[in-house]
């Protein structure tokens, strides 16, 4: 022992350093593509900037303007609508999953057919629903006409337009939740169900007290994906209405795009301010989700 060389710096600290080295690539990516842009967005939101000329520091003026902007409130209201109604995808997905969770001939085909809407792009979904709702030749408006005698142009009516777009969004989102639940259903503990059946539990009570608790992880993921999906609802709004008629189907993410990047926009500061607000709203949910995950890990 006496003539053993003193261990080098690397040898001595290997265990401490190694994790950081392995984390570095991911960490650097995260820094460059997530953290720095967030800081930049916040920074830009305090400026008046057209993306070309000089940035002019205007403090919180963008936020003050936002608070006085009718479109902002419309967008906010619609975002809440999206959040609440989009969650319907979860029970709907569960219902479809339960329905498909049986062994009959060709079930794989049915499953893939139900999953189909999630595979096609949101843009295509948007276009299909636009034609579905289109006055004169759309299937839906024809149906409404046959039913009530009057025609309703969903996407041109400020009362229905947001619901119309959300319905289009629910179609693929339901398929997504369905897949999550189908995998969850495969992992159910058959013994528990058997025991429950012996205790004479069936139907809804079996579902509520035995099956659903076991599906909690799937529900959690479905929740996260759906909430985030509702807040980023951009593609469908852009394709189906571009925020119209007269801004009544506006949501925050599209409003941000329109102000900062569209043909009539180039107000980078204002767009960034909207982005910051959207980020803060998302942060509330993300924090809740992360807290829950931490709690679960501690309880293990």
């Amino acid at each position: 022992m006496a003539n053993a060389k003193p261990a080098g710096f690397w040898k001595r600290n290997q265990l401490k350093i190694a994790p950081w080295v392995f984390l570095a690539p991911g960490g650097i990516m995260f820094l460059i593509y997530v953290l720095i842009p967030i800081v930049q967005s916040v920074w830009i939101s305090f400026h008046d900037w057209d993306g070309l000329g000089d940035k002019v520091w205007i403090g919180v003026a963008n936020y003050v303007e936002l608070l006085d902007d009718d479109t902002f409130y419309t967008a906010l209201k619609n975002n809440v609508l999206w959040l609440v109604l989009y969650l319907l995808a979860i029970p709907m997905g569960l219902a479809v999953a339960l329905f498909l969770n049986q062994t009959v001939f060709g079930i794989r085909l049915y499953k893939s057919l139900f999953f189909f809407p999630f595979v096609i792009s949101q843009v295509v979904v948007g276009l299909m629903f636009t034609w579905f709702y289109a006055p004169d030749f759309g299937l839906f408006s024809q149906f409404i006409k046959w039913l009530t005698g009057t025609e309703v142009a969903i996407l041109a009516d400020e009362r229905f337009v947001t619901y119309g777009i959300i319905a289009a969004g629910l179609w693929p989102q339901t398929a997504y939740c369905m897949i999550l639940y189908l995998t969850g259903l495969n992992n159910l503990n058959p013994e528990q169900i058997e025991a429950a059946r012996m205790d004479n539990a069936r139907g809804l009570r079996l579902l509520w007290h035995v099956i659903l608790p076991q599906l909690a992880p799937a529900t959690f993921i479905a929740m996260v994906v759906t909430v985030i999906g509702a807040l980023r609802s951009f593609d469908l709004v852009s394709i189906m209405t571009a925020g119209g008629p007269y801004g009544s189907s506006q949501v925050l993410s599209y409003f941000m795009y329109e102000q900062a990047l569209s043909e009539y926009g180039y107000r980078m500061g204002y767009g960034a301010a909207i982005a910051v607000v959207l980020f803060l709203i998302m942060m509330v949910f993300i924090t809740l989700f992360i807290l829950r995950m931490i709690m679960q890990e501690r309880n293990r």
Binding site: P135, P245, G265
Partner: protein
């Protein structure tokens, strides 16, 4: 933000490749990506090179949306020698930022002040010319001549006649006006014409330049007249749900009789199955008697960026572009009107009518979204769309527009 940077990077790298300019080479950036404009540009460049063999032309063709997004970047980062853009207030941000070159000398040397007279005003800022126009097209009311004949209606010359015609059509179960406002801009055409006819060109220009509040009684008067068409339901129902092309079938099927549009609509109408005899063209009728008749004629232009490397040859190109021969040939391919009044007249029935109308026009407006500031234009056209759905809300809409105007033009 990320998209913007990506676009900037893309545009930058594209420009870097094109920037190794030889003496006698000019780089042109434009968005002539549709078939007819692309062919017109190809012909123009070939003819120019045949005439000026010492100058080589390098042409970068963009799609429309990509062009609008990247022009701001390449003008600052690595400017080409010639760029395509639009007249009126649309070029104002670039002129004010010092990104466009003053080309008044090209105008003076070639006598363009005379031959391009109709577009001179919309190319002038601070008393200087900032580019050269090469094409425009007329706006006006395209109508079903056979339906008019059937109902015994003569093309209306004034507001009272127009209202009478509308009433007659409506009674016969034909919607007087086709329109699709989903993309918002078709509403701009209506507002422009109503304002040009009620208050005249000067007032309209002051308004779009942001010098008159939208709550002004004269603006209110425009909407009162407009309401005479909106309230009785003289426009296609559900117009907010459809694009302008989607309204054409209504006209083809004889369910609608008139369409206030640019001349490009004729091609779509013919594709839909209407014959040339079924389509008529008329000037937007007079509203306030004695107001001189100004027309809507969006003009497309070419400019020299102030950072161009080969301004000498770029000016040769602009001079050629504005010559009567070049404009006649180019516009024959485009199916539009040459700006140069020495150019050969087009043979097409509608272009001919448009040519006569524009040549006698008191003045030319570009279009609401080209004359007004971009942010104002967006809010304005949204307001017009809302008005066309809920005419009773006019006061609230105008107050909202005034709020935007006050913010944009501080």
């Amino acid at each position: 933000m990320k998209t913007f940077k990506a676009l900037a990077g893309l545009a930058l790298s594209a420009m870097l490749m094109g920037s190794v300019a030889f003496a006698g080479e000019i780089v042109i950036n434009s968005d002539h990506s549709d078939p007819a404009p692309k062919k017109a540009m190809e012909e123009l460049i070939a003819d120019f090179q045949a005439k000026n063999p010492e100058i080589t032309v390098k042409w970068n063709n963009f799609d429309h949306e990509g062009y609008k997004a990247s022009i701001r970047n390449f003008l600052t980062a690595d400017p080409p020698d010639v760029v395509a853009w639009y007249a009126g207030n649309r070029m104002a941000p670039f002129v004010e930022a010092g990104l466009f070159e003053d080309v008044s000398d090209v105008w003076a040397a070639n006598g363009f002040d005379e031959s391009l007279k109709s577009a001179a005003a919309s190319m002038t800022m601070d008393g200087k010319k900032w580019g050269v126009p090469y094409t425009y097209y007329q706006w006006g009311i395209y109508y079903r001549a056979d339906i008019f004949a059937e109902q015994g209606i003569a093309p209306p010359k004034n507001w009272a006649e127009l209202l009478a015609a509308c009433e007659k059509l409506k009674a016969a179960g034909v919607t007087p006006f086709a329109i699709g406002t989903k993309a918002l801009w078709p509403t701009g055409g209506w507002f422009d014409y109503m304002d040009l006819r009620v208050n005249g060109y000067e007032f309209h220009m002051d308004l779009t330049a942001g010098q008159v509040p939208y709550t002004d009684p004269r603006v209110k008067a425009v909407f009162e007249k407009w309401a005479e068409l909106v309230k009785p339901g003289y426009y296609l129902e559900n117009h907010a749900a459809i694009d302008w092309q989607d309204a054409i079938p209504q006209m083809v099927q004889g369910k609608a009789a008139m369409y206030l549009m640019g001349n490009f609509a004729v091609a779509t109408m013919k594709e839909g199955g209407l014959t040339e005899e079924q389509i008529g063209f008329m000037q937007f009728p007079e509203i306030t008697a004695g107001v001189p008749m100004a027309e809507e004629a969006p003009t497309d232009t070419f400019h020299i960026p102030s950072g161009a490397k080969n301004k000498e040859d770029a000016k040769v190109f602009l001079a050629y572009l504005a010559s009567p021969e070049a404009q006649a040939k180019m516009n024959a391919t485009l199916g539009q009107l040459p700006v140069n009044n020495q150019a050969a007249k087009p043979s097409d029935k509608f272009l001919d009518a448009g040519f006569t109308m524009l040549s006698n026009a008191y003045a030319l407006a570009q279009f609401y979204d080209r004359d007004a500031d971009a942010e104002m234009a967006k809010a304005g056209m949204e307001g017009f769309q809302e008005f066309m759905v809920k005419p009773g809300e006019v006061d609230r809409i105008l107050e909202r527009l005034e709020k935007v105007r006050a913010k944009v033009h501080q």
